[in-house]
Structures are given as C-alpha cells and as structure tokens.
Symmetry: C2
C-alpha cells in the first residue's frame, strides 16, 4: 500500500481527523489507560472546528481574545492533547503525548488547567466543563461591554458527551445560558448513543434537543462525520442570537477496525491487535506519534491561522486608552489603592465597634470594595437579601448589554460555583457567589475543582451554624466547616466581626490562585476587634486576640460568632484568678502555613486548651491536642430560635468555663 499522505499534497479533512484518531489510540495504547472512543468519534468535528472556525494562535495560548475551547467530556483528553500537538502548541510535544498519564507529564489523565497551555479548564467530573463554559461566556460578554468589541469578541466552544448532559449541573448551566442569551456559546454534543454501561437508552430516554430548546437554545442535528454538515452547522451557530447546541451524531471509536460504535472503546486501550487493524483500515503506515509530512504541515498551518488576527488585535490593544487597565485586569492584578477604602473603614470600625451579623459585615466589606475593584462581579443563588451580596446601586448583569455587575444566579448553587470557576479562568473578572453554607454541599464539586485549578472564586456562605435558628437541621451546617477545611488549597474563613470580615475579604482577593469560602453568621455578634492594628491580623490565620493577665494557664480558641463567647469565658476565668488567653482562628489554612515557631506560640501547648465552635470537632485536635476540650456540636441541629439552640446544645460560656475547669 502506498501512503499518499507522505507526499506534499494537501490532505483531506478526513485525513487530518485520522491523525487525531491515531494519536489518541496510540497515546492510550502506550499508557495502557485512557479513553480512545471519544477522541476518535469527535475527531471530524474537532478538525473542522479548529481548522475553520476557532479563533486561536497556537504560538500565543494566552492571547486574551482567543476563542475558548472546553472539553467538557474530559475523559477524552487525548483529543485536546492531539489538537494542541498537531496545531503546534509548544508545550504539546511528542514526548508529552507519548507520556500520556505518566508522572510529571503535562498530559494528565483528564485535562488540567495550568499543566498544558491551551487547556482552558480542568475537566473530567462530568457536566462541569459545560457549566464552566457558561462562566466563560458571561465573562466575555461582560468584558465586551466594558472594553468594547475591539478588545473582547470571542466565542466559547464546548464538546460535551451524554454524561455531561445527564448530570444535573448541565441543567443549571444551560438554563443560565438560555436566560442570559449567551449567543457566543456553542455546545457540540457528542451524540454517540453510548455510555460506559452500554447504550444511552439503558438509563436515559431524554429528548435532549427538546430540552435545550425549552432552555432557550437554538438546536441543530448533524452527522458528526460529514464535513459539509459540520461546516454548515458551525457557521449557523455563529449567526444565532441564542446559545447553540449542535447534536453531532457520531460513532464512538470511529475508525476502530472492529470496535467502532462499541462502549468498549470508551475507557480502555483498544489492544495491540485492534490498533494494528485500525492502522490498516485507515491506511496509516506511520509509527506511533509520527505523522505524515503533509498532514503535519496542514495542521501546523491551522495553528498559525489566527496569527494575523492576533497581531491586529495586539495593535488595537496598543492603541487603546484602556490597554493598561485591560492588561492588568486580565493578569488578575488588583487596581492600585484597591484596599484604601477598606483599610480606612477598618480604622473606623475599631472605634465604632458595630454589633452585627458577619454576613452584614461581609456586605459592608463589599460596599467598600465594589468601587475600588471593578473586576468584582457576583451575586447570589436567589438569597440576595440573606447573603448580603448586593451592593446598593449595582446594575444587574443582563442581556443584551451585560455591563451590570450583579448576577441573579438563580437557585443553582452548583451551576453558580462552576460558572464562577469559568469566569475566573477566563480572566478579567473576580467572581463571587452567595448561598447558605449548608448548600456548599450542592456546590462542593465545583469548589473542589476550583481549588485543584487554583482559581480566585469567592464563595459567600452565610447562615454558618445552628445560629441560623428556626429553619432547622436541614439548613444548619454542622459538618461543613470541617468538610470545607478538608479540601486542599481552599481558604476557609470564619471571621468573628466586621474588622475580621474585612480582613478576610482582603485576603480572599489577595490570593490569586486560591478559592475562598467565607463562613458568615445569620445572627448578630459583638465586635471583638476594638484596638487598631497595623497589620491584617487574619492573614496569619490565628492570632492572640487577648493576652492573659500574667502567665497564661489557659488558651481558648474560637472562630466567628463563638469568639465573644470565648472572651466571656476568659473574663470569668480571669475573674476567678486563672490567667486566660483567647485566640481567634479566622482561617486554619493560613495558620498552618505560618512558621512552626509562630504556630507553637499561638497554640500554647503548656496551657489548658479548649476550643469553641458551633460545629463538629473534627480538625480542632491540631489546636487543642488529644486532651483538650471542645465545646461544639456532635450531631445535627434542630428547629428553634438561635439562642435556644446554643443553650440546648450546650455551646455557652458556662460550658467553656466548665471544660477548662475539668482540665485545670
């Protein structure tokens, strides 16, 4: 057999797509692990998308006005690695491809943001890439409103599979996109009728097109292996005034010699025999990771396709009066003086000592920050008044203008958090979103991915304990502080009063590569920071709020609304002649990043140690040791007014004093 593709004639689109197929098949085969079925099935669609529609320049993966490509079906990671390699992304070397899924490679099992340039978001947990993409598209529209189409005018393309569409979060995502008429968002659905367990029909009978239509999308069906249909549909998508779904009917594992169309191609290497037979069927004579010259050339040309447009954009940026601001915002740097108003307010607060709920304090922090940090954009999952997320006078972000900064996220905690990740990844905005803390369980999968990716998304979680009161145990977080603190690379703040709330908001903004969760009270609480400080005391995570009179015999640790309770217990103990210090612990994570000596100083191992937090004990042992006392919750809450619950569950000054006395 002669291999026509080694000569310099222009390859067909099918031949270019075959390059993806073979790379995917070979990458998985070498790793003996991975998912060849999806890349092989969607190779034709991806080839047309990249070679004719996607605005990108492989030499500049960080070009701000590039189209975003989101592989929501992240298990098909070889598809994106193959595309990046073929189009000439510098980092996507042949070595990386052949080290797929190995230690130290950039070709992670599922695509990971920050590993391989060109991967816009970390995907794999199904549905979330699609939900991220809504955030990308919202950020794009908002920034276009702010900086003009000359600087911001790009599309978001998503490949999603049946798994993405079956996950509930996809409903939250598509109804958000529909509501906000995000017409520059296109989902290419790999409609291959296959899931891991077999035919989709085993477990699902949804009319997906009807469903998307009902969410306000324009929809179209095509044969995902027919080049003309793919081209026509992509062109159609760019002309709609709504988000678009293209149902691409494909064969999973397209091109596989005997396994095409079988769920067996989904999640495992095809095996040497099938790989050989597939090579034969595709008339592919090259070794693994080697490419016919003409195909290699044609793909490299695709990768350079956007260079001219990129350069024109750079010229427009250079000429723009907004260049510096745009560049700063896209880098994620804060404006100069971002915290001037906040710091001035803190200086005032140590004097005025307001007693208010920490959710109000968080709202007060937003009041100071909103004008100073124009990138801040956010809202609430339908709990605006309760979450104190709205800054008076803020216009609503809405179609068709998108210049507002307040987002009505709707009752979509997970979709909100995932869209926030997408916004943060897009850049140019700093997203926040509010809900009740107990519903961080709903948004948790996205909080986790945000932590893994290192994005600055700020989760405003109010009603942070039994202090929520009458709504009862379904709405009372008990284990959520521990569960959130368990997530690596997430800053969990529980400020005690308005000063700490402002300090924590500042820290959340200052940490560019870490999401934050702010745990905030429903109920009013006393001011505890009543002395001016020259530094952000919350920055160390825990600090001595009040020293003992004399050599400390007792250390009390507390967070949030329990700090005043610890202070009152310290008063009682001091009155009884027991020198007692009080440590406020607004953030475990920052504390355990401090030098050991500082940690030891704060913890005070020689003292009797008792912690109080209206939550379960798990995690507090690092402060109180094995024999320390803990005053908190041991199970679910109950329905009653907050003060009754604190009394009934024994979270009181008396209980703290008793826990100390039992250990003195």
């Amino acid at each position: 057999m002669t291999d026509a593709r080694t000569v310099s004639e222009k390859p067909s689109t099918k031949q270019m797509a075959d390059a993806i197929r073979v790379l995917a098949m070979d990458g998985v085969e070498k790793a003996k692990s991975g998912h060849p079925g999806m890349p092989m099935g969607m190779a034709d669609v991806a080839t047309v998308l990249f070679s004719r529609f996607m605005k990108f320049d492989a030499s500049r993966p960080d070009w701000a006005d590039r189209d975003r490509f989101i592989l929501s079906a992240g298990h098909g990671s070889m598809l994106i690695y193959a595309l990046l390699h073929l189009t000439g992304y510098r980092a996507a070397t042949k070595d990386e491809l052949s080290n797929f899924r190995q230690w130290g490679s950039k070709t992670a099992g599922h695509p990971e943001f920050g590993h391989m340039p060109g991967v816009e978001t970390t995907t794999g947990p199904l549905g979330q890439g699609l939900a991220n993409s809504v955030g990308f598209a919202m950020a794009e529209r908002h920034l276009a409103a702010k900086y003009g189409d000359d600087l911001v005018d790009h599309r978001t393309w998503v490949i999603a599979g049946d798994g993405c569409l079956m996950e509930g979060v996809s409903q939250e995502a598509i109804t958000l996109a529909g509501r906000y008429r995000l017409n520059k968002l296109t989902v290419l659905w790999d409609d291959n009728e296959i899931t891991i367990d077999g035919q989709v029909s085993l477990s699902d009978a949804t009319d997906q097109k009807g469903r998307f239509k009902s969410a306000g999308w324009a929809v179209k069906s095509i044969d995902g292996h027919n080049e003309a249909q793919i081209r026509a549909a992509l062109k159609w998508a760019t002309r709609q005034d709504k988000p678009t779904l293209i149902a691409c009917r494909t064969k999973i594992g397209r091109g596989a010699a005997t396994m095409e169309g079988s769920h067996k191609t989904h999640g495992a290497a095809l095996g040497a025999a099938e790989v050989a037979a597939t090579r034969l069927g595709l008339a592919w004579t090259h070794e693994p990771f080697e490419l016919p010259e003409n195909i290699e050339k044609a793909w490299k040309k695709v990768g350079r396709r956007g260079a001219k447009e990129r350069k024109a954009w750079e010229a427009r940026l250079a000429a723009s009066s907004q260049a510096a601001d745009f560049t700063r915002a896209m880098k994620g740097d804060l404006p100069e003086g971002a915290f001037s108003a906040l710091d001035a307010k803190i200086a005032e607060l140590v004097e005025t000592k307001p007693a208010q709920a920490t959710r109000q304090s968080s709202g007060a922090a937003l009041d100071e920050l909103f004008a100073a940090v124009p990138e801040l954009i956010g809202g609430s999952a339908d709990l605006t008044g309760s979450n104190n997320t709205f800054v008076k006078g803020t216009p609503i972000l809405d179609a068709p203008t998108y210049e507002g900064r307040y987002v009505n996220w709707g009752i979509r905690e997970f979709g909100m958090a995932a869209a926030m990740n997408g916004m943060a990844l897009h850049g140019g905005v700093i997203p926040y979103g509010g809900t009740f803390m107990v519903f961080s369980d709903y948004s948790r999968p996205a909080i986790r991915l945000g932590a893994l990716m290192g994005v600055r998304a700020i989760h405003v979680l109010t009603h942070d304990s039994i202090g929520l009161g009458e709504d009862g145990p379904t709405h009372q977080p008990v284990e959520h502080l521990a569960a959130l603190r368990a997530i690596p690379n997430l800053l969990v703040f529980r400020p005690a009063d308005t000063v700490e709330a402002m300090e924590c908001w500042r820290l959340a903004l200052e940490h560019k590569t870490t999401p934050s969760a702010l745990a905030l009270s429903r109920q009013k609480t006393a001011a505890v920071r009543t002395v001016a400080a020259t530094e952000n005391l919350s920055a160390k995570g825990a600090y001595e709020l009040r020293a003992a009179n004399g050599e400390a015999k007792v250390t009390l640790f507390a967070t949030g609304t329990e700090v005043p309770l610890a202070l009152a217990a310290a008063d009682a103990l001091e009155a009884g002649g027991t020198p007692t210090r009080v440590v406020s612990v607004p953030c475990f994570e920052l504390f355990f990043q401090q030098p050991k000596a500082y940690q030891d100083d704060v913890i005070g191992r020689g003292t009797v140690r008792v912690a109080v937090e209206a939550a379960i004990q798990q995690g507090w042992e690092r402060f109180i040791g094995e024999d320390g006392g803990f005053v908190g919750m041991t199970g679910f809450g109950a329905s009653a007014p907050a003060e009754v619950l604190y009394e009934k569950f024994g979270i009181t000054t008396e209980a703290v004093v008793a826990a100390v006395k039992a250990r003195l």
Copy 2:
C-alpha cells in the same frame, strides 16, 4: 359580619382551603419565622388532592399501601402540618401547630421524617424531595411486581416549587422517572412565578413544560385556584402511562390582604396588620388555631375517607400467603439466615486468602447477599463494571414489569442517592448505588439528608484513593474520607480485604437507621484477615489485627489498602526488635461508639503511634494524638500508575517505619 362557617353546613372547597391558609399564616406569625406564601398559594390544590384523590387514612399513617405525599418545597412546611392537623393525624395537635419551629416540637422548620407521622421524607434542600419521590415510585412499582397489585398499588404525589425545578438534581430525577415510565408519580408544580429574589424571570426563562415533555412526562397546565380544573387535572394524571406534571398557576400568598402575589410572603411572617386584614378578607373570625366547626368536621371526614379501603387492604394482606414476608420487608427486618452464606464464605476466605481489589471483595459480598436478602436492589451511576455492583444473572429493573433488581441509574450520582433515600423511606427494599468515591461530592447533599433521616441506603464508593491511578486528581479522592466521616450518623467503612468487606456489608445491612458509605479500592490488595474469628471484628470499628511480640512500643493504624503496608512496616520494626502492633480501622464511627476502655486499649496511648491512610490527616488525631505520625496525602493527587503515585507521594512501608523511628 356573620360567619357562615360556624353553622353546620358543608363548607366549600375554598373554605376548606382557607383553613390551611389561616393555619399557615398564624403558625408562621406566632413563630415569627417561616414561609406562609407557598401554603397559602397551594392550599386549593392540596385541598382537592387530599379530599378527593389521595389514598390515606389519618388514623394509620403507616398503612403500607397509602399514597405518598412529598412536599418537595419543604419550606412550605405549614402546608403539610396544617393538612395533617386538619385531617386528624393524632400527632398533629393544635399545640404542635402553635409551637411551630420551637425546641422539642414535631413541627420542625422544614418537614422532618421521623418527627411527625405523615411526613414521608425530610425536605427543604431544594429538588431533593422530587428526587426522593422517584425512589418512592420505583420502590412502589418493584414491590407491586413482587407482591401483586392487591398489596401494592399506590401513587406518589409531589408538590414542587420553582426552586426545586431550577436545581440540577430535578433534571436527574425527572429523566429517571421518564426513562422508567413511572406513571404513578405526579408532580404538582407551584407555578407562582416567584422566587425569593423576586420574579422567576429575573434568573430563569425555562419552558418547564417543554422540558418535562422532553424527559418523557405528560404535562398539563391549570389555574391552581380553580377547583374544577384541579379536579380534572388530578383525574387526568391518574390515567396517564407516564409520569405527570401539572403546572398549577397560583398566586403566592393567595388570600393575603395586600401581599398576595408578592415574594415578601415567601419567607417571613406577614405581620400583625396583614394577618388581621387577611382574616377580614377571608371572613375568618376565629382565633389562631381555632376552626369553624363545619370546616373542622369536613376535614376530619377527609381524614377518615380511606379507612374503608385500608381495612379492605388489611383483609387482603391477612389472606395473602405473602403476608409475613411483606410485613417483615416493610418493617425493614432482614430474612432469617440473611448472613448464612456470607458467614460461610468468610470462613472459607480466611483459608483461601484472595488478593483482590476491595471493590471486587464488595462484589463478592453482594454475590453472597443478593439471594439471601431479596430486598437488596441497586445499581451504579453508569460504572457497573468498575463499581462491581452487578450480581451475575440479576434481571434489570425496567418498565413495564419492574421485577428486576438491578438499576441502571445513569450518570446521575445525586439523583441516584436521593432516589435511594426515597426507596429506603418507602420501605420494602434496601437500596444501594455505586459511583467513584470522588463523586460522593456530587451525591453528598443526599447522603447528608439520608443521615439526618436515618435511612438504610448503602453507597458503594469505589476507586477510593490515589490508587485509582492514571485518571488523575480529578478522580482521586483525597479529602473524601474525612469529609464523609464528618457527616453525623453516617457509617463510613473502608475495609482492608475481602473478609472485612463482607463484615462491613453485613454491618451496613444490620444498621437499619443509618446510611453507610463503603470506600473501596480500585487496585488489588493482599488478604490481611487470615485467621478465623468468631465475631464480626469490623463491628467495633477498629481492632488489633496483629499483636506485638512482647510489650508493644509502637501502634500502627491503617485502613483499606494501607493495612498491608502497615503490616509490612510492623514486620520491619519487629525485625529490628521493636514490638509493634497493627490496628485495622474499618469504621471510625463504630469505634467511637465503643466503651472508653475498649477505645483506650485499641489506641494504646503509651506507644508511639503512627497512622497510614492514602488521604488527608484530618480526623486521625483522635487515634495518633498530637505527636503521632501520619503517612498520607497533604494535597491533591496526580496522573500516573497507582504504584508510582504511592511511591512519589511517600505512602510506603519505609515512610511508616521512618515516622515511627523519628518518634522512638
């Protein structure tokens, strides 16, 4: 004004509904907390449903063949409390109503299963009641197939609000119901166009009817205040061959004097003036919680409406050859000899010592249990082969027969877990469901509610660590053991080998009022239980797997696949002359329920203590104290083969030995 309703004439449906309105308004007013808007808005629909369609007998809330009523919009709890009170449920006294949301009352802020008879499931976290209802309806169809229509033939009625329908889990729920053609499930959507933040249109523009149609539902719209339309629609619903959605266009806070239709009626007391004006408008002259005699009578009659049907059913049950089995199953008792095969297998395994993944061990346990416990019914969220949830030869549960016991849950982790809760609450079945452990984040809100309710739902969570390997950090649980252990009343099992896996499965089944999560490995692991035991050693949560040679100087704690690693470290330490004991810890929760003396014995405070678990440390301090060693993870995983990851992340025998030596 004369009050016609104090005389003994038959009240109108509207007047009966007004009784709900006034009770709801007064209950919330007295508590100064709650949600009057929904009960007032849906009072007419609920009145027609209860007085004409619902099969129930207020004197027997536990009648097995009753229709189930699920208030998915749980914030409207006064609706169900009012209905239970009016229809004469013994527990729903006037005192309970007037103690709404107070300490010790049965009238919790949101309806709670196990507090007030007649409340079928705990609701409030939005969307989950609807998802529970799918489990109820699946259990009903399955039991009807098993025991016949004579014993099982009832419907599931759900009231859901816009919040329920916006939550992603509702999509998973309705597509499950549509796929399985659960025609005895009817959702009454409180289509009031209002959410907490204002008009639904602020955040959503979904054509809900179109959406449900695309999920395979029959849909109908009505005026939710028009009795004739309500009656016709409910009758229509009972005649469909698919699940049914009735969109009830209502006014939130219907009847409120000036606030009808406003989101202000949603989540707060109306206030004294509005309450007084509303009384006037409704011509309601009675004091709070007092009822006009004719209305009281009419409602009580509704409550007795089903008595005759219930008695006839009891007669059929008494005459049935299946009576004993049906009654046992509905009580949740296990059949005699449920564990004979399992115990025999365990006796065999300590001899054969198979080295296999604990997910395979879990599958082996299911193999032994499936025939012996016919109530077991479950499946996987599209990971059947990976989760080892399928017992060979099991028929698939599917329409129209429903007699199968294997459920293709689809890619719907949250919907699956919530439906499992519904199945368990329905009774007669013991549900299980499999997914990757990392996706317990997706199902977490339902796992939590299951724990709060105390239902026996068994979560099979495979691929429980970095041992998952090449799929990478998106799929590798790191914080999930800690996060699951944080949930009160959840048993988290991490068995070390096949014997422990079988013991843990037995414990999961034996605990009738506690959900369980089984953390199971992807990778092969050695048998560690190689000596016959007369008891279930896992039942104590932690036990000395191997004693030290001589007086122990070191205690090593481990779970799951890290137990062999601890044993190897003990070998090395013993070889060096350091007496070392090894404690296997299959279940933290059961261990901390043991007597203090047993806990102390196992923990061995005088020894050097080191724990090893391929997860974060949080929670282990209770075993190892403040100065103990921990070998595990400190952040997210990576993509590479499992053995490489263990090596690179330093979870090795050598690391355990080094952690000990640093402390000797």
